[in-house]
């Protein structure tokens, strides 16, 4: 079993082909000069990226208004989700690593729950609750609270409900490895508690905070299940793509997918660089 047999190696090779085939075809057919993302190959074109619609009756993704609007909606969700996940995740890490209190084990356990709750259910529960609150407040104060109705603020809340778990885990893990003698050393050299936090502890946590932020950004950008339930009139990119995919295939979808993959690769590379620096 130690030396891999030929058939075992072949199997592993097939596995990797299986793994990359879907992504490869998505990328390849983004450049096919055809109405449909399917064989035969009709020649290379960049029309699906930059075209104005004269050739295929549909503009390239970089000029496609609704597509760009959905991209913008995704960014509008992902940035607050990432920022909140890092800020609150850091606070959670300090609570879990620096304080002892009754019920701490239960609280730490509960923070993991969102990982085993299907995203659709997180979505409907938050939708149902926020609607009840909105209805109640409307009846009481005759106020219309739009942010509690389906829309981007609610999407932010829904995504945060489970992305915060990931951020908390990542940042806690690093805080746990922090040598508290460093804080004592700072105090010993004359720093007060805030200065110690700012100059010693937070710089040490920075790689984990940046990493958690990037992961949160990507997870938010790609989330579909929770977003689908909570979305209003501004669909973020995955929801928009889903609608387009149901209507029919177009290489425009391949093009936007490729843009998305390249963007993701850039963020993931950044993440890898940051986490390498951390060690």
């Amino acid at each position: 079993m130690g030396r891999p047999t030929r058939s075992w190696k072949l199997y592993v090779a097939c596995f990797y082909i299986f793994l990359f085939a879907p992504l490869a075809v998505v990328a390849a057919f983004a450049f096919n000069a055809s109405q449909y993302p399917s064989p035969p190959w009709l020649g290379f074109t960049l029309e699906w990226f930059a075209g104005n619609g004269a050739v295929f009756g549909r503009p390239g993704v970089l000029r496609d208004g609704p597509m760009l609007a959905s991209l913008l909606a995704s960014v509008k969700v992902a940035i607050p989700v990432a920022a909140l996940a890092v800020a609150l995740g850091t606070a959670n890490a300090f609570l879990l690593e620096r304080h002892e209190f009754p019920g701490k084990a239960l609280l730490a356990n509960m923070m993991l729950w969102p990982l085993v709750i299907p995203g659709v259910i997180l979505g409907i529960s938050i939708l149902a609750f926020s609607s009840r609150v909105a209805n109640g407040l409307e009846d009481l104060f005759d106020a219309d609270l739009d942010f509690l109705r389906p829309g981007l603020p609610l999407v932010v809340a829904g995504q945060l409900s489970f992305i915060l778990t990931i951020a908390t885990l990542v940042i806690s893990a690093r805080l746990r490895r922090f040598d508290r003698a460093l804080e004592e050393a700072a105090r010993d050299l004359g720093a007060g508690p805030w200065r110690t936090l700012r100059t010693v502890t937070l710089p040490y946590l920075r790689p984990a905070m940046v990493g958690a932020g990037l992961v949160a950004f990507l997870m938010s950008f790609e989330n579909f299940n929770t977003t689908l339930i909570l979305v209003g009139s501004e669909p973020p990119l995955p929801v928009y793509m889903y609608g387009q995919m149901r209507e029919g295939a177009s290489p425009a979808l391949n093009a936007v997918s490729l843009v998305l993959m390249l963007g993701t690769a850039a963020v993931a590379t950044l993440f890898a660089l940051v986490s390498r620096k951390a060690d």
Binding site: D179, A181, L182, E184, A185, A186, R187, D188, L189, G190, A191, G192, R195, T199, V200, P203, Y204, R206
Partner: protein, 359 residues
């Protein structure tokens, strides 16, 4: 006029629940002294040091620095700096930033700060390392950065918490000399805690031997070595053969195997069980009994094994009568330098060299 001590502790006690970690410790360290606290792990020396640094507050008693009580003064406002066991250099900063940290906290102007950082790094021989990351330094260099980071603040007292523990043996020997030199150069009071008696003896002006939260004895290294005041100190400082025994006379004991030893008793005359200590280097070895006739205690025996270690070589010898074994230093220049296992030897020691404590 008596000078005010740099550091004085009055009946300092620390309790953690029912456990007394530090039990009514009194001492004072004179200005410019190298003062060591020596004790086994768990004896309370770390707690004591953390109280001096301000990370723990004494349950009772008072700590004063240059006559000023430190009660209620937080760690960041004490004229004391500490070299941590693992050094605690800030990994996110360069050498220069580490050393500048304390000055920065005090609000020292940038120009002066840089000048002082450069000056101190020059004095510890790290002038060219100012922009290096601390993770790129060797163990000895890291050590010097940790010391420079404290000394740049010109503290009244520098605390050192077993800073040599993580180094390998060779570097440790080197750093002992280096630390002593730095202390003499800067003329700062050093309070050094360690469980390694050799570190304490080599570097210190004064050593306090600590055991179970109390100081057993405070004295110069020579005093501790020659005149240990308790069985614990006799056993902990330097090497010693140690035998359980029974008082026969005020200054004579019978070992459990039957041999009698004349020695020097500490404390009031007593009867009953006792412990007898003889240092390996106090044992004289000779091929014949005549050479030992000046000694009060004389025996003959067989070499059980030869523990060769250059100048530190010792013999393990079993007495022919009296049923005891001992370790004796084997001079590599004497008549017995080439002695082999199983050889018959004569050995003995003066009454002055045997210490007897009531057990």
């Amino acid at each position: 006029m008596a000078e005010i001590a740099d550091l004085s502790l009055a009946r300092v006690t620390k309790r953690f629940g029912a456990h007394v970690a530090v039990d009514a410790v009194d001492f004072s360290a004179a200005r410019g002294a190298f003062f060591s606290i020596l004790g086994p792990s768990g004896c309370g020396k770390t707690t004591l040091m953390r109280m001096i640094a301000g990370f723990e507050m004494p349950s009772e008693g008072d700590i004063a620095i240059r006559g000023a009580s430190m009660a209620g003064v937080p760690a960041n406002r004490r004229p004391v700096n500490m070299v941590f066991q693992n050094l605690a250099l800030f990994p996110t900063m360069t050498v220069g930033e580490n050393v500048a940290y304390g000055l920065d906290c005090r609000g020292v102007a940038r120009g002066e700060r840089e000048a002082r950082v450069r000056r101190i790094l020059g004095r510890v021989g790290l002038a060219d390392f100012i922009d290096r990351r601390v993770t790129q330094l060797s163990g000895g260099q890291r050590q010097r950065v940790a010391i420079a980071r404290c000394l740049v603040l010109e503290p009244t007292i520098l605390l050192l918490d077993e800073p040599l523990g993580a180094l390998d043996l060779k570097l440790r020997e080197h750093m002992k000399i280096e630390l002593k030199r730095l202390q003499a150069d800067f003329n700062t009071t050093f309070v050094y805690i360690t469980h390694d008696q050799s570190e304490a003896l080599v570097m210190s002006d004064q050593v306090a031997v600590m055991n179970r939260g109390r100081f057993e004895q405070v004295g110069s290294p020579r005093e501790l070595y020659r005149d240990p005041a308790s069985a614990f100190v006799a056993g902990f400082v330097g090497d010693a053969n140690r035998w359980p025994a029974e008082f026969e006379a005020p200054n004579r004991v019978r070992l459990s195997g039957g041999a009698t030893v004349a020695g020097r008793r500490f404390g009031p005359p007593s009867a009953g069980p006792a412990t007898c200590f003889v240092r390996p280097e106090s044992v004289a070895l000779a091929p014949s009994a005549e050479a030992l006739s000046a000694l009060e205690n004389r025996y003959s025996g067989k070499v059980v094994s030869v523990l060769f270690d250059g100048a530190n070589s010792t013999l393990l010898v079993r007495a022919d009568a009296g049923g005891f074994e001992l370790r004796a230093t084997l001079p590599q220049t004497g008549a017995l330098a080439g002695v082999e296992k199983g050889a018959a030897v004569h050995f003995g020691w003066s009454a002055e060299a045997a210490r007897i404590f009531a057990a």
